[in-house]
């Protein structure tokens, strides 16, 4: 039962897929289509039983869908119940519990099954059960060791759990490393510049073949000295790295500049943001007092105000 339900759900999916993409039907799809057709027949007969003369196709489809969902749900729950009790195949009681769970009165079932006007439906046409394509086998599957019962699932393919040592000789050869780094960098640079050249304006050195040796067009900038003088981020990064490695000989000089940087930070503030009071950071108060530079002094207010 569960089996067929599972199949049904499968047919649903594949049915919609095949509908949209009109491909030639595979055996699997045939099988599922047949199941679905049977379900439709069931729905139709039930409708007839209820006294319908005819039904819209969409309505039938909807009902089929509902039925299929119901059966699927029953199958799924039954399976879950069965597995919960450490079995692998659902029994009748599993199904019953499921039905009860889903709010179905099981007692009415035998009566319903024996109703008089029950229509007999022909068995679905026998189609070949779909062949599950063989999963790729890599290596020999391990058999269970003796202490594992045979009903336990088989081992998966060895490649899924066995660690394969993939390292070749670790590339410690200096030459190769350098070679690799160099060509990698070159490739990246080339790809990047080509990309930039392709996506932006270019200049060419040749008139006959503009795409050969494309040069990214020169664009004037409004403040050209900034990019030319300031180190690029990449360089700054390397600088940091090298600096951290050479911190020992840097510490001496580092002490002084740090105080400078503090100083002129406050200098900036005073002169650019201009707090009239010239607030001095408390920690640096001593040093600040030492520096008497006219450019650090606060800006005076105009005389009229001072009189106030």
């Amino acid at each position: 039962m569960a089996d067929s339900v599972v199949m049904g759900s499968g047919s649903l999916n594949s049915g919609s897929r095949s509908g949209s993409s009109k491909t030639s039907t595979s055996p699997t799809e045939n099988y599922q289509l047949a199941r679905r057709r049977t379900l439709q027949v069931v729905v139709s007969s039930l409708l007839t039983e209820c006294g319908f003369e005819s039904a819209e196709k969409a309505a039938v489809e909807t009902l089929t869908e509902m039925m299929q969902s119901y059966i699927t749900e029953v199958g799924r729950c039954a399976k879950a119940t069965c597995e919960h009790t450490a079995r692998s195949t659902p029994t009748l009681s599993d199904v019953v519990i499921t039905l009860v769970e889903m709010g179905f009165n099981v007692d009415t079932l035998p009566v319903y099954a024996k109703r008089s006007q029950r229509m007999v439906i022909t068995a679905p046409p026998i189609t070949n059960a779909p062949v599950i394509p063989k999963a790729l086998m890599a290596g020999q599957k391990r058999t269970h060791p003796t202490y594992i019962p045979s009903h336990f699932p088989e081992f998966p393919d060895p490649h899924t759990y066995i660690k394969t040592p993939t390292f070749r000789e670790p590339v410690s050869d200096y030459q190769v490393v350098r070679e690799k780094a160099a060509s990698q960098r070159r490739d990246v640079e080339r790809a990047l510049t080509r990309f930039m050249a392709k996506t932006g304006e270019t200049q060419s050195l040749f008139k006959d073949d503009i795409s050969a040796f494309p040069l990214i067009a020169a664009k004037p900038s409004s403040i050209p000295y900034l990019s030319a003088l300031l180190p690029s981020e990449l360089e700054l990064q390397t600088l940091e790295e090298t600096d951290s490695s050479e911190q020992d000989d840097q510490t001496d000089t580092e002490n002084n500049p740090s105080s400078i940087s503090q100083d002129d930070h406050s200098a900036d503030k005073e002169n650019v943001v201009l707090p009239p009071g010239g607030v001095v950071p408390a920690g640096k108060a001593n040093e600040e007092n030492m520096i008497d530079n006219p450019y650090l002094r606060p800006v005076k207010k105009p005389k009229v105000r001072r009189k106030k």
Binding site: Y174, Q175, R178, E179, A182, S183, R186, E189, L192, T193, M196, Q203, L205, F206, K207, D209, A212, F213, P214, L215, I216, A218, P220, S221, S222, P224, Y225, A228, L229, L230, P231, S232, E235, T238, L239, E241, T242, D243, N256, P257, I260, D263, D264, A267, D268, N271, V272, L274, I291, N293, P294, Y295, L296, R297, V299, K300, K301, P302, K303, V304
Partner: protein, 1194 residues
């Protein structure tokens, strides 16, 4: 000029300036305009001061008040348009003298100025009390083209966010461009400076910042500066911008300013400034004279360094981070220069232009001492040699550089530099190149003085000058006290003799009063019998730029037994000098050889001549003469000198000498030097290039891998894989420089087919490929740039098959590889720009080289796009250089036009200047060769450029003059159409026609003292034109072609007017040899008209002459006696009469004009006449005195 006067300074002005207020109320960045006023406090030094002349250019003056009384003023600037447009003269001689005249006419050192203010009569009538006068001038500047430079980047945001800034600049005394002043280095006064700027900006100026006050609306603030130390107006400057402020951590009175975002760079760059301060203060034993010092870094700077009183303005491109190696010494040098000029140049100013050499000399000299201390003796000696070579090369090529010109008589004949196409009378008429060489020579001469009197005395002299000046500076204004702050040649020499007690007269005479360098040729023979070295030293003192040297010369002889100095006396007739040798030629047993420095070394003596004990000989090893020495000695001697002489100068000399000895021994010597890390790195670098040259000469016999390859591999490549360079580590700068240079030199190697060897090219490509800077503390941008330069050097001309168009398909495979690298580098620059875009610069050069060698199609459009405004300045220069090269090679007139348009329109002054100087260095054509480019339109355009288009920038104008000279020469450009009617007027007889061009640069006037008659004055006015049109060579040719067999002998003509001639001769004994090449009647008319016109101008000094005088007056003006006709079209039999006729016509015409002009002025105002008399456009200093002349005293 002031040499002979031992007394204090005599002001050329009838008043003394004591204090000046400059107040700039408003600076509008949007409109690029400035509004402000100045107030000058002056003490009249004469009775009845009725006229005040000040300098002012391009300022719009709204009102002038003297002691609160409105004063009329006249503004006249003859330098705006040097020759008047109606003149058809296109002759550089003519221009140069007219230009000099114009500059003289406004020269503050002669008491002149553009602005002439009439003192209200109420004031000058009571003038005998010598009351203080306050001259108040309101002015504005709108879009100034000179003096102030606005940088306003075109981005979003407020002016502060846009990093907009403005700063003052100029060549020499150019302060008049931004406020009215006495723009002289010799007129000192105290200053009060006020600048009201936007609240987000900072105004940096000279002196102490007293206070900063908000305006009432709180949106602006006013910076108040006081400069209590008497300072000349040219030393006043201003910079306003949203600067970031850094107080020097070591010296709190020193403040640094840079543009937004550059603060980290500023911190690094300025971290060693205090060392320079300490150094100068220590050697001069004198504190820095000002109470504070400011450095400002600005964009689009005019020059890299300019020093003003208590502040210096630098180019922002000098800033660098700690990762940059190459820029560091350059920037340090600039800072040191700026600071040296603070002492000598700003604090101590000069009396006159002819004393400039003392200031430049001293500041350059102490800067040299700083170099020696900071960079070491090797670097210092290398620098001295470099400077010496530079000045020698320049003088030999262009003619002498005169440090202390004297213009005694002011007559044409006294022109001290007749070989130059410009006048050296004024700083503003000098070619920039000449001025650079002038500075170079000045400091070299100071070094010569040091050699003579010892450094100790030298520093004492400086100290004396400084302490006198600082005593004077602290005085309140007293008569002549402040002149202690002015240095003069005589004062300086007097201090030297007082301090040292030595007579350096001959030295000064040789190098300061005289131009030229000495050119020695030396050779020797060893006389075995007498054991004597026979040295022969010859001199070339006849070629241009040379002079004869008489005096001592030091010769160092390295013998087997040691090094010996000999002082020989160079005398008039003695060429040969016998020097006894100390050692016997017999080879001693294995013994160490003592060197000059006491070191004893082992030498392999097998290369030596068995008979001679001489290892090497050096002439003037201490460079104590400004000279070039060409010395002949055997190759092995040069090799010994290279290996064992410890002086870098000797090593460098040996290397350049070895270039002509391509032998395995030379190769070995050079390789050994290259490998020796004890050796000075610049010597090793030079050895690289020499080795490349030698290798090319030895091509057929060369064995082993290409030169330097194995060396490079050994030094810089991995041990395990020799084809891969080590990852960069530039911690050792010497090897860094070597690593950079060796590939560049190697790329110069050529194989038998004259191609760069494949091995070398691949080697360089591998260096690029494996370059890895990730672990390096320093940036590798210069290194990568030089690798590209190496690729460029490896290029050789493409094999061209009948001028086919260059396409991608027929690209040579090697070139394809090179091009790929260049493309990648250039594109990467857009994503990750390198410091100062060095890589772009190298790539552009490489592309131009590819084009030039015919590998890729020649096309300037790429370069033109990189030359646009908005690229980094170095990139622009490189691109422009390529365009200029293209212009020359492809003779493209449209590109030339494009360049000239840029000269007129580019916002950056430095770029304009560079275009013109690069064009002059790599001219599209020269006067020697014909070119399609050379046409009348171009002549006119260039003429216009130098005549009026560059009036806002002295330097640019001189550049234009230089270019004009390069393209067309001194005389009339050959491409101008042949004149219909030419006449040569000659004041001297006979041979004057044959007399070539140059004798007439000199401007008129000068210190000539004209006394009574206006005649002489008039004459002076006329002179420039006459002298300007000296005989053109083509004039000669034309003359020869004259169909008339009997061309008139000048002498014959003379005879027709003996009386006229006699009268002239008697009046002007020195006035001789004046040729005029009048091309057309029109020209001659224009010429005369021009002069009349000059007279007509209100500023012309023309006391109304009596009519008798006037008649005489015109005579010198129209050169008369010799008239020779040159027109090929002439049909007249009697030339003389014809010309004669003309002549008279001119005379009449002139007279007529004169009258007319007189007339005209009568109409204008009754004041006019007086105005005309007294001020401005006087070509002679007589005008300076004219104030006292009776006609003015009313």
């Amino acid at each position: 000029m002031n040499r002979k006067k031992d007394k204090g300074f005599e002001s050329p002005r009838p008043y003394k300036l004591t204090h000046q207020v400059v107040c700039i109320n408003n600076i509008n960045f949007q409109r690029k305009s400035v509004i402000g006023y100045v107030e000058l406090t002056i003490f009249p030094t004469v009775m009845n001061l009725n006229r005040i002349k000040l300098n002012s250019k391009q300022c719009r003056i709204y009102r002038v008040r003297v002691n609160d009384l409105e004063a009329p003023f006249i503004y006249n600037d003859p330098t705006l348009e040097v020759c008047h447009h109606e003149s058809k003269q296109r002759n550089l001689n003519y221009f140069s003298s007219a230009y000099t005249a114009a500059v003289s006419a406004v020269d503050p050192d002669a008491g002149n100025g553009e602005l002439s203010i009439k003192v209200p009569s109420e004031l000058w009538k009571q003038g005998d009390e010598m009351k203080v006068m306050k001259v108040y001038i309101e002015f504005s500047l709108d879009q100034p083209k000179g003096g102030l430079h606005f940088v306003v980047p075109d981005v979003e945001g407020s002016m502060a966010e846009r990093a907009a800034h403005v700063f003052s600049f100029g060549n020499q005394n150019s302060t008049r461009f931004w406020f009215p002043c006495v723009d002289s280095y010799s007129e000192l006064c105290t200053w009060k400076l006020e600048f009201t700027v936007d609240a987000s900006m900072v105004a940096v100026s000279c002196g102490d910042l007293v206070e900063t006050i908000y305006t009432h609306d709180m949106r602006k603030k006013t910076f108040h500066y006081m400069l209590p130390i008497p300072t000349a107006a040219p030393n006043i400057s201003l910079a306003v911008g949203p600067f970031e402020i850094l107080v020097d951590p070591y010296m709190h009175e020193v403040t640094h300013f840079c543009l937004p975002q550059l603060l980290p760079l500023l911190k690094h760059t300025m971290s060693y400034l205090h060392e320079i301060f300490e150094f100068y203060e220590e050697i001069l034993t004198c504190r820095y004279p000002y109470s504070c010092f400011k450095t400002v870094f600005v964009d689009e700077a005019y020059v890299q360094v300019s020093s003003y009183a208590s502040m210096s303005i630098f180019s922002t491109n000098l800033l660098h981070s700690g990762m940059i190696i190459d820029q560091t010494p350059v920037t340090r040098r600039c800072l040191a220069q700026a600071l040296a000029q603070q002492f000598f140049g700003c604090f101590i100013s000069r009396m006159s232009w002819s004393d400039e050499w003392v200031l430049k000399g001293i500041s350059g000299y102490i800067y040299g001492l700083y170099l020696k201390k900071t960079f070491g003796v090797n670097e210092y000696r290398h620098w001295i040699k470099e400077e010496l070579d530079k000045i020698v090369e320049y003088e030999l090529k262009m003619g002498g550089v005169l440090l202390h010109p004297t213009f005694s008589g002011g007559k044409e004949k006294d022109n001290p530099t007749p070989h130059l196409h410009f006048s050296i009378r004024h700083p503003h008429t000098l070619s920039w190149e000449y001025y650079k060489m002038f500075q170079c020579k000045a400091h070299l001469v100071m070094r010569l003085i040091e050699n003579r009197i010892s450094m100790e005395f030298m520093l004492q002299v400086f100290n004396k000058l400084l302490s006198l000046a600082s005593t004077a500076s602290s005085q309140k204004y007293q008569s002549h006290m402040w002149s202690q702050m002015l240095v003069s040649t005589s004062g300086f020499l007097k201090s030297i003799s007082n301090v040292s007690g030595k007579d350096i007269g001959p030295l000064i005479k040789q190098w300061v009063d005289q131009s030229g360098v000495v050119k020695f040729f030396g050779s020797f023979a060893f006389n075995r019998k007498r054991n004597v070295l026979e040295l022969e030293i010859r001199q070339d003192y006849t070629s241009s730029g040379t002079q004869k040297y008489v005096g001592p010369i030091k010769v160092t002889v390295q013998e087997l037994d040691g090094s010996f100095n000999h002082t020989l006396q160079i005398e008039e007739n003695s060429l040969k000098h016998d020097i006894p040798c100390h050692s016997k030629s017999r080879r001693n047993k294995k013994k160490k050889i003592p060197l000059m420095n006491g070191e004893e070394v082992d030498m392999d003596l097998s290369a030596m001549d068995v008979d001679s004990p001489l290892l090497w000989i050096r002439i003037d090893p201490d460079m104590s003469i400004l000279r070039k020495v060409e010395f002949e000695q055997a190759d092995f001697m040069w090799q010994y000198q290279l290996r064992f002489e410890r002086d870098v100068v000797a090593q460098e000399e040996a290397i350049s000498a070895l270039e002509i000895f391509p032998t395995p021994a030379s190769r070995l010597a050079l390789t050994d030097i290259l490998e020796q890390d004890q050796c000075f790195y610049k010597v090793r670098i030079q050895a690289c290039f020499c080795l490349a040259k030698i290798a090319n000469s030895m091509m057929s016999t060369w064995t082993g891998p290409p030169a330097m390859k194995s060396l490079f591999t050994r030094m810089f490549c991995c041990k395990s894989c020799p084809n891969i360079v080590k990852t960069n580590n530039f911690i050792n700068f010497q090897s860094y420089f070597l690593q950079k240079t060796m590939p560049v030199a190697m790329a110069l190697l050529r194989d038998v087919q004259n191609l760069c060897p494949k091995e070398v090219l691949n080697f360089i490509l591998d260096l690029i490929k494996y370059n890895d800077n990730r672990k390096n503390k320093f940036s590798d941008n210069y290194y990568r740039a030089e690798l590209i330069d190496a690729l460029t050097n490896s290029l050789t001309p493409a094999i061209s098959i009948n001028n086919e168009v260059r396409t991608v398909d027929n690209l040579n495979t090697d070139v394809r590889l090179i091009l790929e690298e260049i493309t990648r580098f250039l594109n990467m620059e857009k994503l990750l720009p390198s410091y100062c875009n060095t890589i772009t610069v190298s790539c552009l050069r490489a592309i131009r080289m590819l084009q030039k060698n015919g590998h890729i199609p020649s096309d300037p459009s790429l370069f033109k796009s990189y030359a646009q405004y908005g690229h980094f300045v170095d990139v622009r220069i490189a691109a422009l250089e390529a365009v200029i090269d293209y212009t020359r090679v492809d003779r493209s007139s449209s590109e030339l036009q494009w360049l000239l348009d840029l000269v007129q329109n580019d916002p950056v002054h430095y770029i304009r200047h560079e275009i013109l100087s690069m064009l002059a260095k790599n001219p599209p054509f020269t006067k020697a060769a014909d070119s399609l480019l050379c046409n009348e339109a171009l002549v006119d355009q260039l003429w216009k450029l130098m005549n009026s288009g560059t009036c806002h920038d002295w330097r640019l104008r001189c550049d234009a003059v230089n270019l004009y000279n390069t393209l067309f020469g001194l005389t009339r450009p050959s491409c101008l159409p042949l004149p219909e009617l030419g006449l040569v007027l000659n004041l001297k007889e006979k041979k004057a026609v044959l007399n070539p061009t140059i004798k007439s640069e000199q401007g008129p006037g000068g210190p000539e003292v004209t006394t009574t008659s206006t005649l002489e004055e008039e004459h002076v006015v006329m002179e420039p034109a006459m002298s300007g049109v000296a005989m053109a060579p083509q004039g000669l040719k034309r003359k020869a072609e004259t169909p008339l067999g009997s061309s008139p002998e000048p002498g014959q003509v003379m005879q027709e007017e003996p009386s006229a001639k006699a009268s002239i001769k008697s009046k002007f004994p020195t006035q001789e040899e004046e040729d005029i090449d009048m091309d057309t009647v029109h020209d001659s008319q224009a010429f005369i008209y021009h002069h009349l016109n000059m007279l007509e101008r209100p500023s012309t000094p023309g006391k109304e002459p009596s009519s008798v005088e006037q008649a005489m007056l015109s005579m010198p003006g129209t050169p008369m006696p010799t008239l020779s006709k040159e027109s090929t079209s002439s049909k007249h039999g009697d030339h003389h009469h014809h010309h004669h006729h003309h002549h008279h016509e001119h005379k009449k015409k002139k007279k007529k004009h004169k009258h007319k002009h007189k007339h005209k002025h009568k109409h204008e105002s009754k004041d006019k006449d007086k105005d005309r008399d007294s001020h401005a456009f006087s070509n002679s200093p007589a005008s300076g005195r004219s104030i006292r002349s009776p006609s003015l005293s009313d």
